[in-house]
Symmetry: C2
């Protein structure tokens, strides 16, 4: 009996035979996430679906004992090959751990198992009449994965990313012990901040099985505005002025009109601004209509002085929903031609320069690099395409797109780092960006990361090969 | 020549002989912080004051080479014996590293050296017409120390603690290398979150030499309100209702009137509320008068329904300043009789229960345990006194106060943990709470902390003995 056959037998005794998958058609799904390049795909030797935290811990102990690499998997919506198994490794799917552990309206907290999909989490939170602000693009993501990647989303301007809301984690450590980090308290100076160390560690330091989230009351009123400008640089130059004026929008997205054509075709809907080449899309929220309209008035004066061609306030909820859907469908619309969706984050003052550089690359290589993103965060989404994009229509594959993609990545990442930014603002490093993180990190930073990984996972069992190679 | 004599000679060659202190009168100050108990005080073998980051790194390298324990020291305002040197160890004072490195209005950031006192930092930020929300009690604290303890303060309700604003750190590692963590970008999913690991690590994982802070625009208007209640339990029961109504005050403090007498005497000023036994003090802020008055109106309805005896809005800035000063002088007023100021943090719903327990202890032991704190954060400040307190007058020492203090600590910490809280919400563990942290932490958590400490400081050079004993 091979090592893996022995592992399967013992895993079955922990979770039941129906929850250890080995047939190709059952496990192919686990060989990749949404990252499009095939180069990082890897079939697992098996996939296991524990039904409880204790079963999860028992599986980790088994892997530790037998030195079998283990990759935790949530919704599989990642964009950096972060949940792809290691060679001869197994996948641990959290999809059966999807319940509410504790809903606590007095403390404004909810504790859920890590395998709960975001759309279910939003629903539970809504039933509590509370609000979990972060909204990464794909609601099929599991909360455990969103925490493991420190996911962001458009609302981070005012509300911050996932890590601001996670106040407690249950984590299975590399030796199979269960640790509870944080809790329902909201301030702590009691020992090392292991909670925030786990957040964003992509399953390499521990397997998140439970998440306690601090919630807010929902904003009473929220309004969506679209503000067109002659060009994207002008649009972006207005953003610091908005923030300086103490208007703290929930979201400030920039979009070039040439990019939005794709989503317009897909949804058969039109972006409200026809003039100009770029728009800012802003969401203002507040306690009541007066507060939000007061912000909108101040905003109008600022954008007008900054060269806005117009300021369109979505009159009703359905028009507001249309605009948000168009924005959120940009990724889906471009996806068929997309090799990689970048999520570079630069200091706010460097966004315009970084976008200018992207346009230079388009000219230099004769390609399209559709770009949009979170203007107030400096977080820029650029699609690397395998094909040409003409007026929103995705064409056939460009010859040599693989090499082109590799070159574009290197150029973009180098520009990000040169501007004092990072190569990932919200998607994570995974396997796809690991070698770039290494190349672009000073030795001291890299050594620190490796030291932490070795300290917490000395046998390199947990999602080996992701983030840093040890 | 002894080992320490050799160290002094070599340290002098790095920083100049005037910056290595060895005379008793020069170094006695470094033997303690503001923690009152003598038991943890320890004279350093020497104190060194580097004039640059490079000199700091050279001193750390020297200590690493010679295996001399090194404790970094900021303003010395800590309350947990966190910057007290180890036996035969040396102190590294950051007080010469007190400059602005970079003020960047476009990115709303300021980068300063770690030895800048908070009052200077607030001044520089004010000159930028920006706002650094955290306000720990003592403005003599250095920013590096505030980061090392993840300091909090009253404004954390709306704005969070220091860690929310720290986006970059320069840290000298245990081997003397300088690492730059984070930067001017505000989102990152690029590798392990070493930045937040350093925050709150009390100089045991690295020595912070520089801090980059993300700033906000200042609130246009802020108003202070005092709301008296019949008793403290009633006052606290109103707090969740305020938060639930999407009134997000900057601060929500609770105070018992019996406690405030001390500060009234000291300042010869009076607390505005005479009725009832306890008050909530709230600070509301917002973009303009209308926004804040709108919040105040909603607040009035809630507190009235919750049994408030009155709601007093400070009419002008000077009355507002009076109230804030009275609140902030509570610590100073009680200090002469204080053995230890606790900063327990419990889930918000447990505050009333925890305060009830404190009152039980007062009866059980026949002592006074003046208590006030951050009601919306669950962060409770209790003074353990060596003496009786009668109507605000500090009396003579109680017989057996040392044993009493030890008993009170154990009781309070056990109650905090039983309620799902932590023993320190904002002051840190230091030496004073280390053994309690150990006793109250599950083995897995303690092992994780020790593993991290050993990974980042294998020779146990950096502030040994604090937070965890390795």
């Amino acid at each position: 009996m091979s090592n893996i056959e022995k592992w399967i037998e013992r895993a079955e005794s922990i979770v039941g035979s129906g929850n250890v998958l080995t047939a190709f058609e059952d496990i192919e799904f686990f060989s990749h996430d949404e990252y499009a390049m095939e180069e990082f795909a890897c079939m697992p030797a098996a996939a296991v679906r524990p039904g409880s935290e204790e079963e999860t811990a028992a599986i980790v102990r088994l892997c530790a004992e037998m030195k079998i690499p283990l990759t935790a998997r949530g919704g599989g919506t990642g964009l950096s090959a972060g949940c792809v198994p290691a060679a001869r490794g197994v996948v641990l799917s959290l999809n059966r751990l999807n319940g509410v552990v504790d809903a606590d309206p007095d403390n404004h907290t909810i504790t859920v198992q890590a395998g709960m999909a975001l759309h279910d989490l939003y629903q539970h939170v809504k039933e509590m009449n509370l609000f979990f602000p972060p909204h990464p693009g794909d609601e099929g993501a599991f909360i455990g994965g969103a925490v493991a990647a420190n996911a962001g989303g458009a609302r981070a301007v005012k509300y911050g990313t996932v890590k601001r809301y996670v106040i407690g984690l249950q984590v299975v450590l590399a030796d199979g012990r269960i640790a509870n980090l944080g809790g329902k308290f909201i301030k702590s100076s009691s020992g090392y901040n292991l909670l925030d160390l786990m957040i964003g560690s992509e399953g390499t330091l521990g397997i998140i099985t439970g998440v306690t989230i601090s919630l807010l009351p929902p904003p009473g009123v929220s309004k969506t505005l679209v503000v067109p400008f002659a060009d994207v640089a002008e649009a972006i130059s207005v953003v610091p002025k908005i923030l300086k004026a103490d208007i703290m929008p929930c979201a400030v997205e920039f979009l070039e009109h040439s990019v939005i054509r794709c989503a317009e075709r897909l949804l058969d809907r039109s972006w409200p601004a026809r003039d100009g080449a770029a728009s800012l899309m802003l969401i203002l929220d507040g306690r009541n209509e007066d507060e939000v309209l007061g912000q909108a008035e101040d905003l109008a004066a600022i954008v007008e002085a900054g060269g806005a061609l117009d300021m369109l306030l979505a009159e009703d909820d359905s028009r507001q929903a249309d605009i948000l859907e168009l924005r959120s469908m940009l990724y889906e619309a471009l996806r068929p031609g997309t090799v990689e969706l970048f999520d570079i984050c630069v200091p706010r003052s460097e966004i315009a320069g970084h976008i200018g550089f992207i346009h230079e690359l388009e000219v230099r290589y004769g390609i399209s690099l559709p770009t949009y993103g979170h203007a107030a965060d400096g977080n820029v989404h650029t699609h690397s395409l395998r094909c040409r994009l003409d007026d929103g229509i995705i064409g056939g594959d460009l010859p040599g797109w693989q090499e082109m993609h590799e070159q574009v990545r290197q150029d973009l990442f180098a520009d990000a780092v040169a501007r004092g930014g990072v190569i990932s603002g919200e998607h994570g490093i995974g396997l796809a960006k690991r070698d770039y993180l290494k190349a672009m990190s000073p030795a001291a930073n890299l050594d620190l990361m490796i030291a932490v990984k070795k300290a917490l996972d000395p046998d390199n069992i947990l999602n080996p090969g992701k983030v840093v190679l040890v």
